[in-house]
């Protein structure tokens, strides 16, 4: 069983980095150990050894006030795991027609095992011919999807997937549709984002921005 145990520990590590990464963008406070444990549904005691290990790896630091913050390396991993999660989720719900909740659960487990290459190919497949239509990104270029949450002010982006419970239809009507070019007009970290879509400025809450997958144009 040591392999399984190892895997479990490593996926917990990734979950922690993902949660801290997300917290940074949504502005929700999760930087304290107890809050983190609550989000992940674990006991603080379970997390502590893993956190210490992460600190030794140089992926996170304990601040003097007891809060946790990610190092650049930790950020990188956290972001990668979150993107994997979103792409898998998108694939399961949009392509395979699974319910959003199941899709999210499946993505939660698979995000730790899947390789970067597989994710990149899956992303290409989602975006595939006929889906993004007009503004395909030039071939051969490294494809990198990100959620709208991670975009920064001034970014020129192309929507690749909108996966939003209940309100997806409204987003489509406003033109947030796979293939549409958008620009980030304003972003207040933790407080949503304003994007310009077809000459109109649309304000979106963070949780909605998090469910929109985009790629950088150009």
């Amino acid at each position: 069983m040591p392999i399984l145990l190892y895997m479990e520990a490593s996926s917990l590590r990734e979950d922690i980095l993902e949660a801290l990464y997300k917290a940074r963008f949504t502005g929700t406070k999760q930087s304290l150990l107890e809050e983190l444990a609550l989000t992940l549904g674990k006991e603080p005691g379970e997390l502590r050894p893993v956190l210490i290990q992460l600190e030794q790896n140089g992926e996170l630091v304990f601040n003097p006030d007891g809060s946790l913050s990610l190092t650049p390396a930790g950020n990188e991993t956290g972001g990668r795991v979150m993107r994997k999660h979103r792409i898998l989720e998108c694939f399961f719900s949009e392509m395979l027609g699974m319910s959003p909740d199941t899709a999210s659960e499946e993505a939660c487990t698979l995000e730790h095992g899947v390789s970067d290459e597989a994710i990149e190919r899956l992303g290409r497949y989602i975006r595939g011919p006929g889906r993004s239509g007009l503004h395909g990104i030039r071939r051969g270029k490294r494809w990198q999807a990100l959620t709208l949450l991670e975009a920064v002010e001034g970014d020129l982006l192309v929507v690749s997937c909108v996966r939003c419970r209940g309100l997806g239809g409204r987003l489509h009507d406003l033109g947030l549709f796979p293939g549409t070019e958008i620009t980030v007009v304003r972003k207040i970290p933790g407080n949503g984002i304003v994007v310009r879509v077809k000459e109109c400025d649309i304000a979106l809450s963070t949780e909605i921005a998090a469910s929109i997958l985009v790629e950088r144009a150009g």
Binding site: L167, H172, L174, G179, R186, C200, S205
Partner: protein
């Protein structure tokens, strides 16, 4: 002859409706303000034309309330002519809706509004070319200057045509439409609507569902998505043909100032606090004037006339009700409405909603919840009316709870007139703080326990515009009229009932009954409890009644500071005024209105009792 105005939110439909019919409707620089259908008539060359202003939507295929209204309006053929209003500066997005409407092949006319704004942002639209692509007449207008709107009605009478524009649909969709058409003998539009799941006939619906499933399997996208994609594509194509972009004239980027964290949030706070203070100062001054005038010129002559006691009691109740209505409506609410109208029409309100989004999430709402909450400081009644802007029932429920607790201007009068005057400014501020803490806690709890889903905010930002004096005044006037219509009858009824209570001696009996409780729990003399009950009519009437019942305006001589403080806190918290209860009932139903009233009653008494234990 019937004409319907259709278009995206905030493109000028209501303004055009107003110019065509002369009827007052709400024109707002805020998306989603028109919710009900509004009809009016106009005459042209002896022809009677009925115009209907429809709610603004981005699409008519969805299942939100507005979309259903508009879809059934178009589908039923109720209108002889459909006038589609487009925003020239946002043509592509507007065309997406137009294409959906055009598929019904009803006689149509396109109004290309906001030509002035488009021009300013360097967008030039070729109306002739657009007309030939769509197959209907296109009239460019600038509604705000009244430019060219007068040619809409003549065109409606002489030159409407069915559109000819066709969306190029995916061939699987076309095939499915064809098969539905032949098998079920449907019109083209019925077939495509059936694919989108809108068929009325169960057989057709089933057949369409089977076909849709097949297509979805092949495309890995829902039919609705494919169709939306094709329409977007078509809209983009048309816009590319007719729109010419030039470099826009650039001014200073005010928008950046308003929507960045710094200085955006300090500006928001300054604006809100400034409005509250101004309304409070102007309001208290005006209110005193109105109440005094009514006292001198109506109440005293009436009392001097010497009617029989019952008639006198009824008359006094009626005058008190009217005094309450006008005393609160014009000084506080109207002044407040003026400011809100300014915020709305300048486009600032959408920016405020954006800035407040995060904070309001903690209370289970989103940015748009800022509108009812801010309105609540003026008066709870219009605030409750505005919760319609929130989309889900959960948000509306939370908002109505919180709004009811927000200290409105009438409650501010109590805090100022009682606590600030007899105890001190710091104590008055502490009452505010108290209420805010209770609102915060209530919000935090409600956001955990209220059932229902929480979606985030998707809000189109209104362009920044210069508000016109006329529209601000007109809109505030219409709103205050609506308030008076809702609140006045209730005030009168409630006031007369209270009057009869007093007359029949029931009030005295009640006072006797309540006395032990009042003294033991709240530490207040029984007449203070009576005064509290009068506060249900109009909150600051609690203060006025207290002065009358105490027999002196120098309340400090008959009540201890603790009693004054408790009285103020309880009257601020407990039971919303009768007008608020009435709109609560209208907006969220009798049951929830009662629950909210009971909650505020419980909180008021609880806090009162706790304070009594602490202070005495």
């Amino acid at each position: 002859m019937k004409v319907g105005l259709i278009g995206n939110p905030n493109v000028g439909k209501s303004l055009i409706f107003h110019q065509l019919t002369g009827l007052g409707v709400e024109v707002s620089n805020y998306p989603g303000t028109t919710i009900d259908l509004q009809s009016g008539t106009t005459c042209f060359q002896k022809e009677m034309i009925e115009v209907t202003d429809l709610p603004g939507t981005y699409s008519i295929e969805g299942d939100s309330e507005e979309e259903k209204i508009v879809r059934s309006f178009v589908d039923s053929g109720k209108a002889d002519v459909i006038v589609a209003v487009l925003d020239a500066g946002r043509l592509e997005r507007n065309l997406y809706l137009l294409l959906q409407v055009a598929e019904y092949r009803r006689p149509m006319l396109v109004v290309l509004n906001m030509m002035d704004e488009a021009e300013k942002s360097g967008i030039r639209v070729d109306a002739g070319k657009l007309s030939s692509l769509l197959g209907v007449e296109v009239i460019p207008t600038v509604a705000i200057q009244g430019k060219n709107t007068s040619s809409i009605i003549p065109a409606v009478l002489s030159s409407v045509k069915s559109p000819i524009v066709n969306v190029l649909y995916d061939h699987h969709i076309e095939a499915a439409v064809k098969s539905l058409k032949t098998v079920h003998n449907l019109e083209w539009i019925e077939a495509i609507q059936a694919l989108l799941g809108h068929a009325k006939d169960p057989d057709v619906r089933e057949a369409a569902a089977a076909l849709s499933e097949e297509i979805e399997r092949m495309h890995r996208m829902t039919v609705a998505q494919i169709i939306a994609g094709n329409r977007h594509h078509c809209a983009e194509h048309i816009a590319d043909e007719v729109v010419q972009l030039r470099t826009p004239e650039r001014g200073p980027d005010i928008d950046r100032l308003l929507t960045s964290r710094i200085p955006g949030i300090p500006i928001l706070a300054a604006i809100l606090i400034g409005i509250l203070l101004t309304v409070f100062v102007i309001g208290s001054w005006l209110e005193e004037a109105i109440v005094t005038l009514i006292n001198i010129f109506v109440l005293q002559p009436f009392l001097a006339a010497g009617f029989p006691p019952l008639a006198e009691q009824l008359g006094v109740s009626l005058i008190l009700a009217i005094q309450a209505g006008f005393g609160i409506a014009f000084p506080f609410i109207f002044t407040f409405y003026l400011f809100i109208a300014l915020l709305e029409d300048s486009g600032y309100l959408t920016r405020a909603a954006f800035l407040a989004d995060r904070t309001l999430h903690r209370f289970g709402m989103h940015g748009q919840g800022i509108i009812p909450l801010v309105l609540g400081f003026g008066c709870n009644v219009p605030a409750i009316m505005s919760i319609k802007l929130l989309r889900t029932k959960r948000e509306r429920l939370i908002a109505s709870f919180l709004v009811t607790l927000v200290p409105c201007s009438a409650r501010t009068v109590i805090i100022a007139g009682l606590v600030a005057a007899f105890i001190g400014l710091a104590a008055a501020m502490s009452v505010y703080l108290f209420v805010m803490v209770i609102i915060l806690i209530t919000g935090l709890i409600l956001s955990r326990v209220t059932p229902g889903e929480q979606y985030g905010m998707i809000l189109e930002m209104s362009p920044l515009r210069r508000p016109t004096v006329k529209n601000v005044l007109l809109k505030s006037w219409m709103r205050i009229r609506e308030f008076l219509l809702v609140a006045m009858p209730l005030l009168i009824v409630a006031s007369i009932i209270l009057g009869l209570f007093q007359y029949s001696g029931l009030m005295a009996a009640f006072e006797e009954f309540i006395a032990p409780f009042s003294e033991a729990v709240l530490g207040l003399p029984s007449y203070a409890t009576t005064a509290l009950i009068f506060g249900i009519l109009r909150k600051e009437m609690a203060l006025e009644t207290l002065v009358i019942l105490a027999g002196t305006a120098d309340l400090g001589s008959v009540l201890t500071m603790a009693q004054i403080y408790i009285f103020a806190v309880v009257s601020v918290l407990f039971i919303p005024c009768i007008a608020t209860i009435a709109v609560l009932r209208k907006e969220i139903g009798t049951k929830m209105a009662l629950v909210i009233s009971a909650y505020t009653l419980a909180i008021g008494l609880l806090v009162g009792a706790l304070l009594n234990m602490l202070l005495s």
